[in-house]
Amino acid sequence: MMVSVKFESVTKILGQSRAVDNLSLDIGAGELFFLLGPSGCGKTTALRTVAGFYTPDEGRILFNGQDQSRVPPHKRNTGMVFQNYALWPHMDVRSNVAYGLKMRRVSQVDKDKRVRHALEIVHMQAYAERMPNQLSGGQQQRVALARALVIEPDVVLLDEPLSNLDAKLRVEMRTQIKDIHRKIGRTMIYVTHDQAEALSMADRIAVMRRGRLVQVGTPHELYTRPESAFVAEFIGGTNLLRGTLEEVGDLLTVKTQAGIVRGKNGVKGMARGEPVFCSVRPESLRLKPAPASSSIPPSDATNELIAEVQSIMYLGDNELYSLRLADSTIVRAIEHNPTTRKAEVGDRLALEFGAQAVVVLPQEELGD
């Protein structure tokens, strides 16, 4: 069955802090939904509230409109994949996977069939007799996934499932999990602090910070239209230029110490004179030789700032430049497929970027 999950003003207090603070979310039936944020942002707490390990102090959790807040965890029919897999070391793979079916008193024949099928989905059918300690991390991870899927849960909950795997395997498993989601079509809620994981897999992402929801949207929306400097910085990484909003209109004009920056995009409701950040992604910056005279007024559609090269890092498929603007702000620029080096450390360059690439955001304190 496809189940939608609704957080209705959920607050959970752990110790002295509001681990989840007035969180409202609508997760559609069959969606692969991500909870993303730095560690300690409350994403795992939110997930455990769905599983029923925590009872909300305020608000409700609803599955298909039915209040679940007082339903004990073993009666919720969620399938959770734990961060450290939590495979029972005293049971072999088959017994681990069959456990939930045993609890549901599924007949022996049916149970065998479903366990086999679940192990096939995760490509572990050959390991049914193994004990968990005879499996590699990636294999344990897949057994944990099979164990959660075999009960045909209303919601699959994944708590940083890939964080204990090495980098290469992690990328492989992204595709596998996404495939499994497509195959079984169940609602999945996936917690991670890895923004690349979220961007590459999610239908939609909720970004959390300090227990609160910051922004919800598709990966594309979050990347191209962040609504706060925190999201712009956290997802993908960006350059933030500090300035004051001068003109509000079709284009937003910002005066920075390094020069005027015009932006096409911004958060609604900002007033003239407000302190703002201009967010420009490193890949939007183009490096050009500096013009002879230093004060060329930028055209409407293009911005140009003068900068001095601080360091250059060669990474093969691209080159990462670190540059200093006139106001000492350090910005990063990426040059793709570098064939010949465009500049040396100490050179003065012009940074060119379109107004389309600029998002103007209210200033805020950054960090977790």
Binding site: R76, W88, Y99, G100, I151
Partner: protein, 565 residues
């Protein structure tokens, strides 16, 4: 629900368990102690220090106190001298057979000094083996009075040989805890080996050392069996033992017990001050690489010599017991002239011996069952639930480690006299409870360690898949901590079998005598008494060694943690 309550996992079941535990601790630990205090400080006219004044003003009593303190200090000093080289050699060097030597060091722990005392008496008597051997070798031409001077040194030697493993465990743990990089830093600054030990290693070891020293001190200060067997009566423990019988006429017993409690508390306060200072917390460890390095041949030889030598020393008393138990004729010769296994047969035919074995099996089984139930419950609440008064519960469960059996037993006799639990009518209930309380910390620690090693996610995974909390406990948690429970139960059982001071004080009638009291009673009988007692001692010793071996298999290297404060 108030926000204060919401911080806790208090469902009706947890609350009921908690209340049950509190009632148990209040009735069987706090009330008896409180009773002793009130009798020591309250006369019919209200609060009074008259008994305390009496205690400290009588020269006789001050000598007794001084004897006990000296005994404790001497044993602490000698155990330190024996264990420090052992710890340095075994923690700092790797050599073949190190594990074996490590095990060898722990053996004396399984040999109750009370039993060893029987053998020691035989060896150190005026015309005992040692004197005879020395006379034969011509080293001396007159027997030395080893046990003279009130047998003080005999008691010190036996307790030292029994307790040095505890000191060793604490020192070794303390040494292993010293971050090697701190020592490397001192080396880097140019400290020589000796300077390094003096200025860095030893100061960092001090908290661990004090933890061990305090256990050893309190243990020897309150040991009842050894001085009794040596007939060294001028110590606090024996005085208290004698005063149990006329407790209602003579309140001095209460005063003595209060002094013991006060001293115990003082030392534990001191240790908390030293240990809790916090400033010695190891700040961020770079690499926790073992500081052990391969030993040269010379060091290996030294290590073997030291360990084997000390172990041989520690085994001498028990060798004496063993010889006594198989002797049919041993008179004015170094070794017995005729051997027999008759006394082992007698153990199983002699009325008192046989009865006491049956009694001990029953009492220890019952106390172990209580320990299992209480231990699992307490460990579960501590490890898995946020309950109010958590730290107090923890402290109460661990208190018996610090609480001398002597004090507890005295408190029981006093507080429950003329109640249905009166030990002089039927000591079985109080014996069972005393054994259970005394060994509860082992069980709690064993179970707690099990809960801690078992990630809570394993339980949550089961609940998430539809198992009820009860099912989770049976199918997931219990199987995973089973080894710990067995180990804890084995330890509780075997120590209960050889519990000395509570048995001596509480078992009032011969028909209820457990093994240890029967041994003591048999020692006092002429004819074959001491021989049967020795045979029983050897059997008890084998039991304890066997069960520690089993427990060690389960616990592995963590075994030592059970004997630390």
């Amino acid at each position: 629900m108030t926000s204060w309550l919401r911080r806790y996992d208090l469902n009706p079941a947890n609350a009921a368990l908690l209340i049950f535990l509190w009632v148990f601790f209040i009735v069987f630990m706090l009330y008896p102690l409180g009773y002793v205090f009130s009798n020591a400080f309250f006369t019919s006219e209200g609060f009074s220090l008259v008994f305390m004044k009496l205690l400290f003003s009588s020269p006789n009593n001050t000598i007794i106190l001084a004897n006990s303190v000296n005994l404790g200090l001497a044993v602490t000093l000698f155990t330190t001298l024996l264990s420090l080289p052992l710890a340095l050699l075994l923690v700092r060097y790797n050599f073949p057979g190190k594990g074996l030597l490590n095990g060898l060091i722990l053996i004396p722990l399984v040999l109750p000094p009370f039993v060893g005392a029987i053998g020691m008496r035989q060896l150190l008597a005026r015309f005992g083996s040692i004197n005879l051997l020395l006379l034969q070798l011509g080293v001396i031409n007159q027997p030395i009075d080893w046990l003279g001077g009130g047998s003080f040194w005999g008691v010190v030697i036996l307790e030292t040989l029994h307790l040095y493993p505890i000191m060793y465990l604490n020192l070794a743990a303390a040494l292993a805890n010293v971050d090697p990089s701190l020592e490397e830093a001192a080396r880097n600054m140019g400290a020589s080996s000796f300077k390094l030990f003096k200025t860095v290693t030893f100061p960092l070891m001090l908290p661990g050392y004090f933890a061990g020293a305090i256990i050893v001190f309190i243990w020897s200060f309150t040991d009842l069996g050894t001085p009794l067997v040596f007939e060294y009566r001028e110590v606090v423990a024996v005085q208290i033992f004698n005063m149990v019988t006329d407790l209602h006429q003579n309140p001095m017993g209460y005063a003595f017990v209060v002094v013991v409690i006060a001293l115990t508390l003082f030392f534990f306060y001191l240790s908390k001050r030293i240990l809790g200072g916090g400033s010695y917390e190891m700040l961020g460890r770079g690499h926790v690489a073992s500081a052990a390095r391969p030993a040269s041949v010379a060091i290996t030889v030294i290590a073997y010599a030291v360990v084997l030598g000390i172990s041989a020393l520690a085994l001498i008393p028990h060798l004496g017991v063993l010889l006594t138990s198989v002797t049919s004729r041993w008179f004015l010769s170094v070794l017995p002239s005729e051997y027999t296994i008759q006394f082992y047969k007698n153990v199983f035919s002699h009325d008192l011996a046989l009865l006491s074995i049956k009694n001990s099996l029953l009492l220890s089984s019952l106390s172990t069952i209580i320990d299992i139930v209480l231990g699992i419950t307490i460990a579960y609440l501590l490890a898995r639930k946020r309950v109010p008064g958590r730290s107090v519960l923890d402290a109460l469960a661990m208190l018996p480690l610090a609480l001398p059996g002597l004090v507890l037993a005295f408190g029981y006799v006093a507080a429950f006299s003329a109640t249905p639990l009166d030990a002089r009518v039927n000591p079985v209930p109080l014996l069972v409870i005393a054994y259970a309380v005394r060994r509860l910390p082992y069980m709690v620690r064993a179970a707690y360690a099990g809960f801690q090693q078992t990630s809570i996610a394993l339980e949550e995974a089961a609940i998430n898949l539809g198992a009820s909390p009860m099912k989770t406990l049976y199918q997931i948690t219990m199987p995973l901590i089973f080894a710990n429970l067995i180990a804890g139960a084995v330890l509780s059982f075997s120590f209960a079998m050889l519990e000395v001071s509570d048995s001596l004080i509480l078992a009032s009638k011969e028909s209820y005598y457990p093994i240890t009291k029967a041994i003591y009673a048999l020692l006092g009988r002429i004819a074959d008494g001491p021989y049967i007692a020795s045979a029983m001692g050897i059997l008890g010793l084998l039991l304890l060694a066997g069960s520690l071996f089993i427990a060690g298999r389960f616990f592995g290297r963590r075994m030592g943690e059970l004997f630390r404060a």
